[in-house]
Structure formats: structure tokens, C-alpha cells
């Protein structure tokens, strides 16, 4: 660009009389700094966004069990214990203050009480006396572990798990892990953020040992292969995103298949056939206006037309599909709504691509006797194709990230089954992010961060490929 006015060390004579210049130059320098700072500020705001998402993605997590492990392991009833064992238990588990009051409460010092009284003391003074004699999981044999599973799981679940991998062939450690997730419902009691975990590692571990003695802890990442491939559950530790990924794939693919032929045709009409006609001008203005309509309005259009008025068709009821989802909440409804939303984008990009095709190509084709359509089909479209593809890629990214219209046309928040066809109910990745973020339990925002990364990486990669493709095209033309 034009070089800015640089301050001269020795000012020329004609400037010295003008005291204004120095001030103006200072202002110019400061102004330049402020402008640059704004750009940096904008970028910083957006870098913060990425950092925040990564910060939630992993970190030290300490686990607790919903179910006390000692309540599920085999134990001996207190009544069967010997006097020595009872005294030892009282010594170990009854708090000192309670021990001091024993002679007063039971009428005699500890040593003189009957076995029955000793059992009563344990029942009265210890929070869960039946677990006192329970063995820890780690001390059990393989057979005992399998027995624990059998007693605490429903028969169906037990059989399913056994069919997946026979218990007899599993190691003791694997069995304990299975009991921890299936029976004890191990859950994250607290998790630190990624940066805390990296920079404050020792303090966190000290705190865990102080506040949660004996608990398991580990460095936990939320974005795992298991998360990508399992279905949704209600627990953050076990939930997954597979139905949402497939739902997004179905909806986006279908909407592109609907919108691209229509959008490209409309673009061709406007550029090659409409000329300066009044109708063409009306359609053109209309497309620009449609591009500015808030996406939620498209959702309302889809709700009223596809989900309500055409319900019999969009649920497949008219074609004899059994068990249609309620209120027309199907993949085809979502795809048609999304197709209308990305249509203006595809039309405008097609038009730009066609406009960039040199007029000489058309003239040459027409001059040797090609018809209008032959010219367009054989000469204009092949040259415009990469540009149209760029527009399509951008539209794909847009469709992938749109959330509001799908909320309105009724993407279900909790879907455990994979979509099976165009008439099945569905959820998509952005809807999952919304649902998990909106839940009151803080830990679900960690789950959401994993889904955010999946969505962001996909959308940005798609966009990047479109930008690279377009820059290459510009160099060619």
C-alpha cells in the first residue's frame, strides 16, 4: 500500500513553522495502533472461543460411586461374629464420643456387655453396619465377582453382557471394571479443566487426596472413540454421539440432494435465460431477500408446511410406514426445511460461477449452431462446475451447523436409535450440543465440548476446502 508518513529526524524547513504536523503524525501513529488493536481484539475473542472449548475437553477427574461398593459384596451378618471380632469392629468404627457414652447408655462398660448388646451398639452407632464385614471388590475371587454381577444386574442385562464377552474368559480386573460401570455406576464427582490440570497438577492431586480419600482419579478426555461410536444414554460417562452423527449425515446429504439441482437450475435460468426480463429481476430481488431471512423463520415454514400440512407424506403414513414419529418429526421434514434454507446460497454462488465464464465461449458455441441449452450444457456448465462445487461445499457447512430451524421442526433431543430411513425420527450434532449445554448438570458441558470439537473441526475443514478450491480457481481465470 501507499507508505505512511514517516517522522523525519531532521524536519525540512517548511514544516518547522507548522506546529500542526507533529501532532497530526502522532495522531496518525496512535490511530494506526488502535485500528490494528481492533483487528487483534477480534481475533483474540475468537481464539478465546477455541481455547475455552479445549479447556473443557479434558482434565483430572475424580470418581465417586452412586452405589457404595461394600453394599454389593458378600458379607457375614453381624450376629455370626465372635466377641473378639465385634470388639475389634467397635474399636475401629464407633466414634470416640459415642464410645465414652457407652457405660451410661447401656448400663455397663464395654467389656461387660453381652454379645447381643455389642451388635446393637454397632447397629446404633455406625451409619451402615451391614457393610462392616464386607470384603472390598479387589479381594473377591473371579467366581464371586461374577456372582456379584448376577445378583445386581437384571437377567436381560446380565445375559446381554455375557453374550458380548463371556465372563468366564474375562480377567479379574476387567470384571471389576465392568462392575464399576454397570453396578456401581461410577461417575465423575468433580473435574478440573485442562489448563488447571496441566499447570496445577500437584495442587489438584493433593486436593483430591485430601477431599476424596481413596477415590479413583485419572486424567479424563471426553472426546474418545467410544464417545463417537456409542448411542446416547442419560449418564455423561457413557453417553455417545453416534445417532447424532448419522442424523447429521442423513439430513445434510438429503438436503444437498434436494437443493443442488433446484439451486443450480435457478441460477442457470437467471444468468442464461432470464436476460433483463421483469420476472428475472423479481426472482433475483426475492433471492437476495430470502438470503437475509432469519433461519428460525425457515423452521416455522417447515413446521407449518412439511411437519403439519404434509404430515401424512413426511411421516410416511401415506406410504404405509408403520409407527410414524409424532408431529411429522422426520428426517425428510428436516432435509426439506434445510434445503429451502440453503437454496439462496446455492443459487447466488451458481450465478457468480456462471457469470465468470467468458462470453467468448458462449459466442463460439452459438456461432457453430449450438442451441441455447447445448451451449449451456456443453460449454458454460463444465467451466462453471468448480465454482458451483465451491458453493455447494459452503452450503454443506452451513446445513451442518444450523440448529434453530431443526429445533422448530422438531429434532428430538433424546434419540438412542440410529436413523434407519427418511421417515425415522432423528437428532443432529448441533442439537446434541444445545441439549447438553442446556442441562443443569455442569458435567454435561464437558460432554458438549467433545461434540463442539467434532462439529467445529468438520465445519471448518469443509470451509477451508471451499476457500482453497476458490483461490485456485481465481488464479486460473
Amino acid at each position: 500500500m501507499l507508505s505512511s508518513t514517516k517522522p523525519e529526524t531532521a524536519e525540512p524547513g517548511y514544516l518547522q513553522g507548522d506546529s500542526n504536523v507533529r501532532r497530526r503524525q502522532t495522531v496518525a501513529r496512535v490511530g494506526r495502533g488502535v485500528l490494528f488493536l481492533s483487528l487483534v481484539l477480534g481475533l483474540v475473542a475468537l481464539i478465546t472461543l477455541f481455547v475455552d472449548v479445549f479447556d473443557k475437553l479434558g482434565g483430572y477427574a475424580v470418581y465417586s460411586f452412586r452405589v457404595d461398593p461394600l453394599t454389593i459384596t458378600p458379607s457375614r451378618p453381624l450376629e455370626e461374629l465372635s466377641r473378639e471380632e465385634l470388639l475389634a469392629l467397635i474399636e475401629q468404627h464407633v466414634p470416640e464420643e459415642a464410645k465414652a457414652l457407652i457405660p451410661e447408655d447401656y448400663g455397663a462398660p464395654l467389656e461387660e456387655l453381652s454379645d447381643e448388646d455389642l451388635v446393637n451398639i454397632l447397629y446404633n452407632e455406625v451409619p451402615s453396619p451391614e457393610t462392616l464385614t464386607a470384603k472390598p471388590l479387589e479381594a473377591l475371587t473371579k467366581e464371586e465377582l461374577i456372582d456379584v454381577l448376577q445378583r445386581n444386574l437384571t437377567d436381560v442385562r446380565f445375559q446381554t453382557l455375557n453374550a458380548e464377552q463371556p465372563f468366564e474368559q474375562m480377567s479379574r480386573e476387567a470384571l471389576i471394571e465392568l462392575i464399576e460401570t454397570e453396578v456401581l455406576q461410577e461417575s465423575v464427582a468433580r473435574q478440573w479443566t485442562l489448563f488447571e490440570s496441566i499447570f496445577n497438577r500437584d495442587a489438584i492431586i493433593a486436593e483430591i487426596e485430601r477431599e476424596y480419600p481413596g477415590s479413583d482419579y485419572e486424567f479424563k478426555w471426553w472426546l474418545t472413540w467410544r464417545f463417537l461410536t456409542s448411542e446416547q444414554t442419560t449418564r455423561p460417562e457413557t453417553t455417545g454421539i453416534r445417532p447424532a452423527l448419522l442424523g447429521s449425515l442423513f439430513v445434510v446429504t438429503l438436503s444437498i440432494l434436494i437443493a443442488v439441482p433446484l439451486g443450480v437450475s435457478a441460477g442457470i435460468y437467471l444468468e442464461e435465460f432470464a436476460g433483463k426480463s421483469r420476472l428475472g429481476a423479481i426472482i433475483q430481488t426475492n433471492i437476495y431477500n430470502l438470503a437475509g431471512v432469519p433461519s428460525i423463520i425457515y423452521g416455522m415454514l417447515g413446521l407449518a408446511v412439511f411437519a403439519r400440512a404434509l404430515r401424512d407424506f413426511t411421516t410416511g403414513a401415506a406410504f404405509g410406514v408403520p409407527d410414524p414419529p409424532p408431529n411429522g418429526r422426520t428426517i425428510i421434514t428436516a432435509a426439506m426445511t434445510m434445503a429451502l434454507l440453503i437454496l439462496p446460497l446455492i443459487i447466488v454462488n451458481t450465478q457468480e460461477a456462471i457469470r465468470a465464464v467468458p462470453q467468448s465461449l458462449r459466442d463460439a458455441a452459438l456461432a457453430v449452431g449450438a442451441t441455447k441449452w447445448e451451449t449451456v450444457w456443453h460449454h458454460v456448465l463444465p467451466v462453471a462446475a468448480p465454482g458451483i462445487l465451491t458453493g455447494t461445499i459452503l452450503a454443506t457447512a452451513r446445513a451442518l451447523g444450523e440448529t434453530a430451524p431443526l429445533i422448530v421442526v422438531g429434532a428430538a433431543a433424546f434419540v438412542t436409535l440410529d436413523p434407519s430411513g427418511i421417515f425415522s425420527s432423528y437428532t443432529v450434532v448441533p442439537i446434541q450440543i444445545y441439549t447438553w449445554t442446556a442441562l443443569p448438570e455442569q458435567i454435561f458441558t464437558r460432554v458438549a465440548s467433545a461434540a463442539v470439537i467434532v462439529l467445529l473441526v468438520t465445519v471448518l475443514l469443509i470451509n477451508l476446502s471451499a476457500i482453497i478450491l476458490r483461490n485456485r480457481l481465481r488464479k486460473q481465470i
Binding site: S4, S265, Y269, L279, P294, T371, G401, T403, T437, L456
Partner: protein, 319 residues
């Protein structure tokens, strides 16, 4: 006449073909006509979409306004939106939309515009080559991700700065600020286009007269690009009014007539989205009322977009 090996019929046929080849009459091409009609049909689909939007919104909004007890005047002046008490006043929702948008614009316009001026007037072509695509990528971040950012970062930040008793967990400030971040790329990119369209001669004239680079930018280039910049700001307003996911996640789930940005209040879009999230029955006042809100939103954004396009056309005509 000497026959050169052609029969009488062959000769007539040849003659007929020659006349045909020489005919310059326009022949009907039914295939072309059909294709043309199909292309026109695709173009008309966009008109049908607009008509569809208007019909759908007006149709259900009418069902809402014809309900006894609902009048246009009450709709626009009542300060309470409480369907359970048959109070349908758009004001609490509208003020929330207005406040979040105002916060967003007061962040996006200065930053976006300054960034655009820097990009167009100061940055080297090489730097611009990198920064413009980055801006475009940022504009492509799904809005639900911004919503997530508002809830997990901006709200806790505001609460730690101003105190948790001042700032509600759901609040308009957090949603507005993050919405501002979202709109920065839009303002920057549209304004940059407008600034880049200003002829180089204007800059050279100003610099030649001894103006500094800043004076040239602010007093010559920016005024020359006013209509384009105005278009970008109006587009930003329209975008802020229509934004849904950020306000749905961060601004609160309940109409609240307040001007305090640290309080929770639901916007028009947020209300539409929340009402339609649940298992809404597809008739009844709850359902019809969101269409009345949708109609207002549609008309306002349409008006803004028309004004913005008018500005864009004007600056295109000047140069």
C-alpha cells in the same frame, strides 16, 4: 436432360433436402422449451418460498389475533407475556431482543469497522490474503458453538467480575457480547468490500495534499464508502435480531420486562425456539402466538434487508 445415374425419385428427394437445408425458418425445439420451463420452475420456487413464509406466518398469526381478548394494540403495548393469564404483550420479548442486539452491535461495529479499515488501508496484500479467509472461516462457526461459549465462558467471567449476586446465571449481557463476537466477521467483511471499492485516485489525491494515512482513511475513504458501511451495519442489526441459539442458551428462558442487561430475559427468537422445543401441540394459542412473533420478526428483518440492499446498490452506482 441427361440423367447421371439418379432415378426420378432420388432426384426429387435430393431437391427436397436441399430446400430444407436452406430454410432459415425458426424450428420449434420442444426439448429446449421443456428444459427452459423446468429452469424457470426452479427459479419460481424461491418466489413460492417467500409466498409460503408469508402465508404460513399470516395464517397462524391471524388465528392468534382473532382469539377473543387479543388485540393489536394490546399485543404491541402490554408489558407482560404470560399465555397462562391470556396476556400477550410483545414488549418484554422485544426489549430483550433490542438489548442483546444493542450490546452485540456496540461490540461488533467498532471492532469490525476498525478491523476492516486496517485490512483495506494498512495491511499488505499478503497479510490480507491470509486474514480475509480467516474472517470467512470465523463467520462459518455454527451459532450453537457461540452459545456454548457464552454459557461456559462469558457468563462465568461476567459473574466473577461483577459478582454473582449482580449477574444472573442467564443474562442478556453475556448473550449480547458473544453475539457481538459472532457479528464481527460480518461487519468486517462487508465493510472491507465497500472500502476496497473506493477508487485509488481518491486516496492518492488526499495523500498528495499532505494528509496522513489516518486522515486519508477516516476523512476520505470511509465517507466515500458510507453507504457500504451502512449496509454492513444494517445487515448486522438484522442478523442480531434473528439470532437464536446464543440467546436461547445464554439469555434466559422466560419473558422478563427489564432493561438491566445482567438479568435473564427471553428474546423473540428464544421464545419461538423454546416453545417449539417441547412436544407442542400443533394448534392452540401457544402454537399460534409464536407465529405472530415470527411475523413481526420476519417483517422487521425484511425491512432491514431491503434498506441494506438499497444502500449497497447506491454505492455500486457511484463507482
Amino acid at each position: 436432360m441427361v440423367s447421371v445415374g439418379l432415378s426420378e425419385e432420388q432426384r426429387t428427394e435430393l431437391g427436397a433436402r436441399r430446400t430444407q437445408r436452406l430454410s432459415l425458418r425458426r424450428r420449434p425445439r420442444s426439448g429446449e422449451a421443456i428444459i427452459r420451463a423446468m429452469l424457470l420452475g426452479s427459479g419460481l420456487l424461491s418466489i413460492f418460498t417467500t409466498v409460503g413464509i408469508v402465508v404460513v406466518l399470516v395464517n397462524d398469526a391471524l388465528a392468534f389475533f382473532l382469539h377473543p381478548g387479543v388485540t393489536l394494540i394490546k399485543f404491541f403495548t402490554d408489558t407482560v407475556w404470560a399465555p397462562e393469564f391470556e396476556r400477550y404483550g410483545i414488549l418484554p420479548l422485544a426489549t430483550a431482543t433490542f438489548i442483546t442486539s444493542l450490546i452485540a452491535l456496540s461490540i461488533a461495529v467498532p471492532i469490525g469497522l476498525s478491523a476492516a479499515i486496517f485490512l483495506s488501508e494498512y495491511a499488505s496484500p499478503r497479510a490480507r490474503g491470509y486474514l480475509k479467509p480467516i474472517l470467512e472461516m470465523l463467520a462459518a462457526i455454527p451459532t450453537v458453538v457461540y452459545g456454548y461459549f457464552a454459557v461456559t465462558f462469558m457468563t462465568p467471567l461476567l459473574r466473577s467480575i461483577f459478582g454473582a449476586d449482580v449477574v444472573d446465571f442467564y443474562n442478556m449481557a453475556s448473550a449480547g457480547i458473544v453475539m457481538g463476537f459472532m457479528i464481527i466477521p460480518l461487519v468486517a467483511s462487508v465493510s472491507e468490500d465497500a472500502l476496497a471499492a473506493v477508487p485509488r485516485a481518491l486516496r492518492e489525491a488526499a495523500l498528495g495534499l499532505g494528509a496522513t494515512q489516518l486522515e486519508t482513511s477516516l476523512r476520505v475513504v470511509v465517507p466515500a464508502a458510507t453507504s457500504g458501511i451502512a449496509a454492513s451495519i444494517i445487515l448486522a442489526i438484522s442478523r442480531a435480531f434473528g439470532e437464536t441459539m446464543i440467546v436461547l442458551l445464554a439469555a434466559g428462558a422466560g419473558p422478563n420486562f427489564t432493561l438491566n442487561p445482567f438479568k435473564a430475559a427471553e428474546t423473540i427468537t428464544g421464545h419461538i425456539a423454546r416453545i417449539s422445543t417441547g412436544d407442542i401441540s400443533q394448534e392452540g394459542m401457544d402454537f399460534y402466538s409464536i407465529f405472530a412473533l415470527g411475523l413481526v420478526l420476519f417483517l422487521v428483518t425484511l425491512l432491514l434487508n431491503l434498506i441494506s440492499r438499497w444502500f449497497v446498490k447506491r454505492f455500486r452506482e457511484v463507482y
